[in-house]
Symmetry: C2
Subunit: 212 residues, 2 copies
């Protein structure tokens, strides 16, 4: 059994951020499947692991940590990869990770959940979320026009966080043709040693034709 | 002129988090009013200051930083107050600040904006946001039942972040009678030396009867 375990399931971009980081750092880790769609993450036993009721949770010996952005900071401190080279760069990385949690992954993850899994179809809520998501994608696309990666022109945990939901553009109704700098940046991330698609990296994927 | 400046306006909880931190640390700072409701934050000149188009931005000499959670980390590093006493505690503080940005301030801030300023009345969108906001408040209330503050049983930047929108419960339709541990925690925050209500601390408040 690997000492590093990650609660996750194939469809969550927030767990994917951590799974991808572990893979890119060459860590020996194993996934622990959470049956999210049947309510396991909302059960009291799961709340004992994470009072926030969210996936992922990283377990590394005595360290038990949730929130992908906190876990990414822990892993970069531990492994010395994909982190800041200076204090100002550290704030800049944290800034983009917070923005991702506040404006990018949050709206896109919720929009995708409603469209793809709750199957609500287009509603006032999905239209609202899509508007917010597209505003965030525009900010990111503009930022990436002149740089290869978000901070310091090399891959950092800011990129690993922000790409979490972006390998499924068809599942939330966007095309990278409309955000070409994001498309090019995702191609650079896919070229990193250890990259795998979320549906290959985490268990419980019900749609084998999507794993391309 | 104070060397530390904060772009802000009275109604934003995200700027309030930083304004409150500056006050609690005894920093000599001054607000720079942003006319958010007339579109100033969306203008190209503002984008030159912050490509994310968001308020607040802290300017401290050469340091120009946005995202309240990143600014709070910068200020705690600089002033040595309200920060972590150990590395694990630092991840725990970061974890709650990320959760705040992802699940608490985000939903409450957006809900309050629609109800209080965009005046949409109750819609499918506000009902959706209110459901998410109340789930988050329940998580926080449960967490605070047995502790005085979120992390380490003393005030930290995790508390300062999470309280950002919570001194306006009437503006997003909740009562602390339903979340008594949050109500008691806010009373403890109000007792900290330097605490002021957001409508007293930041400029542009159009509703003098609310500043109580």
């Amino acid at each position: 059994m690997a000492t590093v375990q990650l609660t996750c399931f194939a469809q969550t971009g927030n767990a994917y951020k951590v799974a991808l980081m572990l893979n890119l750092c060459g860590v020996d880790w194993e996934p622990v499947f959470v049956d999210f769609f049947n309510g396991e993450a909302r059960a009291n036993t799961y709340r004992e692991l994470n009072e926030m009721g969210e996936v992922p949770v990283l377990t590394d010996g005595d360290m038990v940590l949730s929130q992908s952005g906190a876990i990414l900071h822990y892993l970069t401190d531990k492994h010395g990869q994909f982190g800041a080279r200076s204090s100002p760069e550290g704030y800049e990385i944290l800034r983009w990770i917070l923005w991702d949690n506040h404006k990018l992954s949050s709206y896109i993850g919720t929009l995708r959940f409603l469209l793809q899994f709750a199957k609500t179809g287009e509603t006032e809520v999905t239209k609202f979320l899509a508007g917010r998501a597209k505003s965030a994608l525009k900010v990111l696309d503009t930022h990436l026009v002149d740089v290869d990666f978000a901070v310091g022109n090399r891959p950092t945990i800011a990129d690993i966080s922000m790409c979490g939901y972006l390998f499924w553009p068809d599942e939330f109704g966007v095309s990278w043709d409309d955000y070409p700098a994001i498309g090019a940046w995702l191609t650079r991330i896919k070229a990193l040693k250890g990259w795998e698609h979320p549906y290959e990296l985490m268990p419980g994927h019900p749609l084998p034709d999507k794993a391309d």
